[in-house]
Symmetry: C2
């Protein structure tokens, strides 16, 4: 018999570590402890089972204890909670939750993958009977049972993160009228404000009652209805409330054992995923990771990293010394008909870190079609690229209907290689009309970013328009007159791009000229013309009227 | 007035160069010569207009001469063919095809983007009235007019490349019974034989009469019907024949001017896209490029490279010295319900270059789902990865229904950065159930490749099975008994993977053990078990029974 390896937590990180360890070491004794009833379940699928997109409950159970035994010869103990770790004795204390019996188990190596747990702040009324959080199979059964049996008409989702919005969609799919309540001024925190606007518009268009910049003050339960009172005083009534305002690492066990934790309770690990105790590894939501782009410490509770870390920890237990190089926070969510995705750093966090736009970093927003415009079904996506002074890609955010996942994955890949906007220009991506354009949106993002960085194109951001001095600047709408009928930037004059060579005399060279079109392309061409005609300060509205409109109209 | 720049060819490369040049140089005099009636048309969309997926002919015309004048102040001369170049005088001779008038035009810089032209070998009867090639708008009008008016019942497509197969699909969409005739033993030359099998099966399933390994001997026209006689003696009757057996660069002009050409007639350019004459640039299908992966010279007639080269040439004319770093041949095609894509080098060309499997390069075939299996609509894709001894990714081929374009683009990006299979393992791609799995197929390809390269997994390729010595080897099907009902490898015995720990005594340790399952995953687990139990020579069938079956069943 080889090493005795105990694993705490039987889902994403833990089960992956167990399976991989068996493949690299047939002789190890592997015991997997899971306090819940289920292992290896599809956390990420839970909302879709409630919404009945996933029809069979069994589909959520990717592996069972029996199959893990048969295939991997792993001793899986569900309903067995690990209570404490005795690091000196190298043993753990376990309680069998079914029998109530406690026992000890010794280890050579211990792996912690306890995950996180939904935040439940002490808001008055938070324990009302119709307030739920969603994290595991029992939660799912409870919520689905409630919806199936009590047929609530109104739901309040507290928190506009990806789980909140997935739940909003899935409750809506069940015919429930949904309110989403978010304390910040935007949903989907990983993307920036102007990018989230499109999500807000889409949610509202679907009939979701979206309440931004308003937190929950209290919950009052009355005869099957919870009244959610907001900080603003507004009240929202709902027969079911879903709380999804964030998670925290489930690390009491690690803390009690004296393992090093960070200030957010995350387990500190080295690059080989070892904790401060050389016989204990930790992985998944519970650990602090390196932010791949910024090189600072971070907590990123996502399934991809958890699965990969599980594999690396297993390799290292079996003798390798593989490193986990960090997490870049690539994430994606389906929000009704939209796809919202991001990778790397966003502008908000750069600002928070004290970085200045136009000095430390730059951004570019384009609106590209998912595939060749002449082939049916091409749909636009808003694509924000963030890059530093040397052109290094720091992050990207994309919101659209189709092909969003592809472009975010390409950027995520480029970021992994430390790629620059030069590299994006050159990427040779697959082109045929149903799939892309000869210049893919990723190439286009690279071109536009390069033009900005080289100074061939000066841009102005949507939020800078308000601050323009109308004495010293003029805003020129270079679209066709008919396009103005659906809205325009207040105070702008109209000279279509194709008339600019003939009509530039109408503009004052001593002023700042702000040009804009629908998405930025014609504005760019206009800016190039004016600049070369001797206008010194010409700026193109980044993302064009589309982005501006998302925020202001 | 700035430089006078003449551009020959007004479509992908030429029009892109012209537009970009104007953006970087407002003062240049730019004249675009196009011998055809149209510029900037969507070559790649032509088949879909014939098939009526693209409904409006006008959608094919991305730009018109009038608009190029208005927006970019470019003098576009359609139906003006450039007849010769006088390099000494720095002038060209042009014929206005409408008026028959010839004239001269001087240049400071000349750009050649003449593209290629379909091959039409001297096969008897090749000029029959119902034999077409497809390259431009007039070709399209002719073919569509023929189909609309004469309503052919049977079509013969000669050549199974991407244009041939796109035409097969689009003619089929018009209700025509289609035969595809291909001289090689497979369609879609950029992918390898075993990967093409799935395409063959799909074509046949759609009712396409597919004739492989059979060339055309002659065409006989009789009363509206062309009888295609094949080398084998077989005959195919068709009211319409579409010839798409390849292209050659249209470089007579360059040749007559004494510019350096390669042996295939491609214009030789340096990395800045300059020809052997410093005042002449050349781009697009007509030029020889560097194969990005192999570092050898190649001809790659694709729109992405042509567009990008156009932009680079324009930059260089305006004073930059930007380099075109090579073409990796990323391409994709929709073939009925399948997507077929590749990037980098294939195994055939490695073999042709004298490289040996298992010495110079390795391959791995996996079958992954397009997204999480528990979320509806997940469809399998066959994914072949090719990598060298150091793990460097050389190429990939993917055939599937959904998400193929995304994975090929990720691999294409990794190749661009010189990425390895280690890198593929670590890529942090966007995961939510509708889009991917926590371990994306690209990660999975990386894992599997690593296992092969490290020797943790020895694989056997589908074509090696036949050569096994049955005295010295045993083939073990590790699937469940019920899965054998739909077929199995001849001579295999059945021990399900989950029984292997108990039943390995039934196997002879002195023999080569070949294991296989449906796709390779359980076979891999079985191989790991046996190997660690002391079996010395265990090999897993790469791609499993799926790949084997594609070829043999
Ligand atoms: C509704 C929902 C949707 C999600 N969607 C996505 C998505 O689309 N994409 C994405 O990347 N991520 C998603 N996630 C996040 C993802 O599921 C987690 O990041 C991932 O599961 C973390 O893996 P882990 O192993 O760290 O923790 P978990 O998978 O949560 O597993 C931890 C397990 O440890 C057990 N445990 C804890 N302490 C003990 C103890 N003392 N003794 C015994 N057992 C213990 C817990 O019961 C739990 O089952 C989603 C999560 C949820 C809840
Ligand atoms: C049906 C079809 C489908 C395709 N699908 C795809 C696809 O899905 N993906 C992809 O990447 N590629 C595809 N391609 C290939 C792609 O269109 C070409 O690679 C690309 O157009 C090459 O650009 P180019 O500028 O070199 O040549 P072209 O775009 O062909 O332009 C060359 C132009 O030069 C003109 N010309 C030549 N000589 C002279 C002269 N002496 N005087 C004046 N004019 C001249 C020609 O008339 C021609 O219009 C497809 C091509 C076809 C025909
Ligand atoms: C189910 C679970 C235990 C599977 O773990 P796993 O066995 O490591 O993962 P997979 O079944 O995907 O198999 C991956 C292995 O198959 C190998 N493989 C895949 N396809 C293969 C093929 N065609 N040929 C050979 N090997 C193949 C891979 O190389 C990898 O093996 P390795 O890690 O030893 O290199 C674990 O992923 C889990 O619990 N998942 C559910 C929980 C979860 O992740 N939740 C969050 C997301 S909803
Ligand atoms: C139509 C055609 C002339 C367009 O050329 P083009 O103007 O270079 O290309 P696009 O219209 O895509 O515009 C790209 C430019 O817009 C810029 N751009 C795009 N979106 C932008 C935005 N939102 N804000 C600012 N700039 C933007 C890009 O940076 C790029 O400019 P640059 O090259 O100066 O950096 C040329 O592509 C063509 O002829 N195509 C049809 C033929 C063909 O390609 N056939 C084969 C495929 S079917």
């Amino acid at each position: 018999m080889g090493k005795k390896v105990l694993i705490v937590g039987g889902v994403a990180g833990g089960a992956s570590a167990a399976a991989r360890l068996r493949r690299v070491d047939e002789t190890a004794e592997i015991i997997l402890f899971e306090k819940g009833e289920y292992i290896s379940f599809a956390n990420c699928g839970l909302p879709y089972y409630i919404g009945e997109t996933i029809e069979e409950r069994s589909a959520l159970l990717v592996q069972t204890p029996e199959d893990m035994k048969k295939r991997f010869n792993i001793d899986v103990r569900v309903q067995n909670e690990v209570l404490s770790i005795n690091r000196e004795k190298k043993s753990i204390e376990v309680i069998n939750l079914a029998s109530g019996q406690k026992y000890e188990e010794s280890y050579d190596v211990l792996v912690l993958s306890p995950g996180s747990t939904p935040l439940k702040p002490p808001i008055p009324g938070i324990n009302n009977p119709n307030i739920f959080t969603l994290w595991n199979i029992p939660d799912t059964d409870a919520i689905k049972g409630f919806v199936d049996n009590l047929k609530p008409k109104r739901a309040a989702v507290i928190g506009g993160g990806f789980i909140g919005l997935e739940m909003a969609e899935n409750l809506w799919d069940r015919g429930i009228q949904v309110s989403v309540i978010e304390m910040l001024d935007q949903v989907m925190a990983p993307i920036d404000f102007e990018m989230a606007q499109q999500v807000h518009a889409h949610l509202r268009q679907k009939g979701v009652d979206l309440r931004l910049s308003d937190g929950v003050k209290e919950f009052d339960y009355n005869n099957g209805v919870t009244t959610v009172t907001l900080a603003s005083g507004a009240k929202v009534d709902a027969e079911i409330v879903l709380l999804s305002i964030g998670v925290r690492p489930q690390t009491q066990l690690a803390k009690d054992a004296g393992l090093e934790l960070n200030e957010r309770g995350g387990i500190v690990v080295d690059s080989t995923l070892k904790t401060s105790d050389p016989n204990i590894y930790a992985i998944g939501d519970a650990v602090e990771v390196m932010d791949f782009v910024q090189g600072i410490k971070a907590m990123v509770p996502l399934a991809g990293p958890a699965n990969k870390q599980g594999r690396i920890a297993a390799n290292n237990i079996a003798g390798a010394s593989e490193e986990y190089k960090g997490t870049q926070g690539t994430s994606i969510a389906k929000v009704f008909d939209l796809t919202v995705a991001n990778t790397g750093v966003n502008e908000k966090s750069l600002k928070r870190a004290g970085k200045a736009y136009g000095v430390d970093y730059w951004t570019s927003i384009i609106h590209s079609k998912s595939h060749a415009g002449y082939y049916p079904g091409a749909l636009p996506m808003a694509f924000k690229l963030i890059f530093d002074n040397k052109g290094k890609v720091l992050g990207a955010q994309i919101v659209g209907h189709d092909g969003v996942d592809k472009r975010i994955d390409v950027i995520a890949t480029a970021i992994r290689f430390g790629g620059t906007i030069e590299d994006l220009k050159e990427l040779e991506l697959a082109y045929a009309p149903p799939y892309s354009s000869a210049k893919d949106p990723v190439n286009m993002a690279g071109f536009t970013a390069e033009n900005i960085l080289k100074g061939d194109l000066n841009v102005i951001q949507w939020h800078e328009i308000e601050g323009l001095d109308s004495e010293k600047s003029v805003i020129v709408d270079v679209r066709d007159p008919v396009e103005r009928e659906l809205g325009y930037v207040g105070g702008s004059i109209n000279i279509p791009v194709d008339d600019l060579r003939a009509r530039h005399g109408e503009l004052d060279k001593s002023k700042t000229i702000v040009v804009y079109c629908a998405v930025g392309l014609r504005g760019y061409i206009a800016a190039r013309i004016l600049k070369q005609l001797g206008f010194e300060d010409v700026r193109n509205l980044s993302g064009g009227f589309s982005t501006f409109q998302n925020v202001y109209c």
